[in-house]
């Protein structure tokens, strides 16, 4: 686990909100609660960094559903997904000092942070069935920690590129990727829905992902050669 953020008591002068509502050990006022609802994610993260842990609840309310969707898709199990999302927020709280608003928005940081933990959870769940330890741990050290820099793109760019490449795929490849990634179906479930064999579904998935890989890697390497990023 990461370091526990400093407590509010460590910063007696900095825990007074902009609106002048002070967080007290006995609880925070209604105005304080309302104020939190109107703060940006980054301001709430700053509050967390100062030790005002209540901001975590607001951030959870704002982003838990996005994270839960990712976790449910990745883990394919609601209970595991809930556990992973809760753990992600607790880990994010403990690692909040790593968040640097100069490098990007809080949501981006949280999504990347969550993806990393949820992926770890998936791999360890899968590995427990076949291995004593996670077989990919030793294969994936360079990928993590996952950041926009290691991805090679900002998330808005990712959105555009994914959309473009998906449009360029053959319809059956695109459909397979959308069913697997956006609807969370397994290859078997896709097979039942489309009438294709599981082997064909897996092949379409591989071909589609391979084209995505080529597009992303080509763009990253050309940008790197241009030296403009």
């Amino acid at each position: 686990m990461g370091a526990v953020p400093p407590r509010a008591a460590d910063f007696p002068d900095t825990c007074v909100s902009d609106a002048g509502t002070e967080a007290t050990p006995a609880g925070i006022s209604l105005i304080g609660l309302l104020r939190q609802r109107f703060l940006s994610d980054e301001e709430l993260a700053k509050d967390l960094q100062r030790g005002n842990a209540d901001a975590l609840t607001v951030l959870f309310e704002r982003h838990a559903s996005s994270l839960f969707r990712i976790a449910r898709r990745v883990l394919r199990n609601e209970a595991e997904a809930e556990d992973a999302v809760q753990q992600t927020f607790l880990d994010a709280f403990r690692s909040i000092q790593q968040f640097n608003p100069e490098k990007g928005g809080f949501k981006t940081w949280l999504l990347l942070f969550a993806y990393q933990r949820i992926s770890n959870c998936r791999r360890s769940l899968a590995a427990n069935r076949f291995f004593d330890t996670d077989p990919f741990d030793e294969l994936l050290p360079a990928v993590f920690p996952l950041t926009e820099r290691s991805l090679g793109y900002s998330l808005p760019e990712v959105s555009v590129l994914v959309e473009q490449v998906l449009r360029a795929l053959q319809p059956r490849q695109r459909r397979t990727i959308e069913l697997v990634y956006y609807e969370g179906l397994t290859a078997e479930e896709v097979s039942k829905r489309t009438g294709e064999s599981v082997r064909v579904v897996r092949h379409n998935l591989y071909r589609g992902l391979e084209k995505l890989r080529k597009a992303f890697c080509a763009n990253v390497s050309s940008a790197a050669k241009g030296g403009s990023r």
Binding site: V4, A8, I28, L30, L33, L34, S40, D41, E42, E43, A53, D54, L56, T57, E61, A64, S66, F68, R69, I70, V74, E82, F89, L90, F93, P101, E102, G104, G105, S119, R122, A126, F131, F136, L139, V143, L146, Y153, L155, E157, V158, S159, V160, L161, Q164, R167, V180, Y181, T186, L205, Y206, L209, E210, L212, R213, F216, C217, A223, G226, R229
Partner: protein, 305 residues
């Protein structure tokens, strides 16, 4: 590489999307321990997996949380030592906050209707294409070298309830060669951008992303953009039918998700090449227009939402 290696490449892709059987996973693991190429492939595929799952196309669709998940989270957080000051906030919940908000809104609305803040009612039905084509206010031009300027801010707009658009104009520096090309390929390239809506996503500290309608084709076919604009849209940021404009909040990059009423829209490479825009803090659509010597960007409030 053999067809056998192709087989392992396909396993790399399927492993990331969790579609491998147990024996396949074991097989891939054993192979990848000795095969650098497959290890690299797994790295790359992991990034693709992340890109697919983190793309807004996926994350913008929120899932319904299991009932009581928020309360369970708060209980777990407290149990694990997170110093939540007010577990009672769980009890207050959204209903209490909504009630408080409702009361505040009622009081505010009453003050606005009867108090010094009262103003003419905006008739959204007047917001039409003709109005877009003839924006109410146009900024006075800055000298060519500084290229952009701004129109008056929110206070001025409040005097005229029909001022629905915010316009800034760009007069390219004549020395950049824009004049020589304006009647040629440049106008041809920019013509499709006249009076079109471009949904913009202000979701990054560094980029304003304007997704272009697909029928406009590839932006990379803009070889004749004037130099300053080309600086604003460097090639690596052009992804076929999307235009990424470098933007920066005047408040710094710390608040990228918030569009303040005074939003600095800056392009790199030109000192002072930024302007404050009085744009709607929640919804805005940039519109590109081309005149004889002007390239206009309209940020128009989306009054329909």
């Amino acid at each position: 590489m053999t067809s056998n290696h192709k087989y392992f490449e396909s396993l790399c892709a399927l492993a990331i999307s969790d579609e491998l059987t147990g024996p396949e996973l074991v097989e891939l693991h054993a192979h990848s321990l000795e095969c650098v190429s497959c290890r690299d492939r797994i790295h790359e595929m992991t990034k693709i997996d992340a890109c697919l799952l983190l793309s807004p196309a996926f994350t913008r669709q929120n899932a319904r949380l299991p009932k009581g998940m928020r309360e369970r989270f708060i209980a777990r957080a407290i149990k694990e030592g997170v110093p939540l000051n007010s577990p009672s906030t769980a009890g207050l919940g959204n209903l209490g906050l909504a009630s408080a908000l409702f009361i505040i809104l009622l009081v505010t609305a009453a003050a606005i209707r009867t108090g010094p803040f009262s103003r003419p009612v905006v008739d959204a039905s007047h917001f039409d294409a003709a109005q877009l084509a003839n924006p109410v206010r146009v900024a006075s031009l800055t000298p060519p070298g500084s290229t952009m300027n701004l129109r008056p801010g929110r206070k001025d707009r409040s005097r005229d309830a029909r001022s629905r658009s915010v316009v800034f104009q760009w007069r390219p520096d004549p020395s950049s060669g824009f004049q020589a090309r304006k009647s040629g390929a440049l106008l041809g390239h920019l013509e499709p951008f006249q009076n079109r809506y471009f949904p913009a996503t202000f979701s990054s500290p560094h980029y304003t992303l304007a997704t272009m309608p697909s029928d406009l084709g590839r932006l990379s076919a803009w070889p004749d953009m004037p130099p300053r604009f080309r600086l604003a849209v460097p090639q690596p940021l052009i992804r076929e039918n999307a235009l990424l404009l470098l933007a920066d909040s005047e408040h710094g990059t710390a608040k990228p998700m918030i569009i303040p009423s005074q939003f600095t829209f800056a392009t790199p490479g030109a000192q002072g090449f930024h302007l404050a825009l009085d744009i709607d803090p929640y919804r805005a659509h940039p519109i590109f227009e081309v005149g004889d010597t002007l390239l206009k960007f309209h940020f128009v409030e989306n009054v329909t939402q």
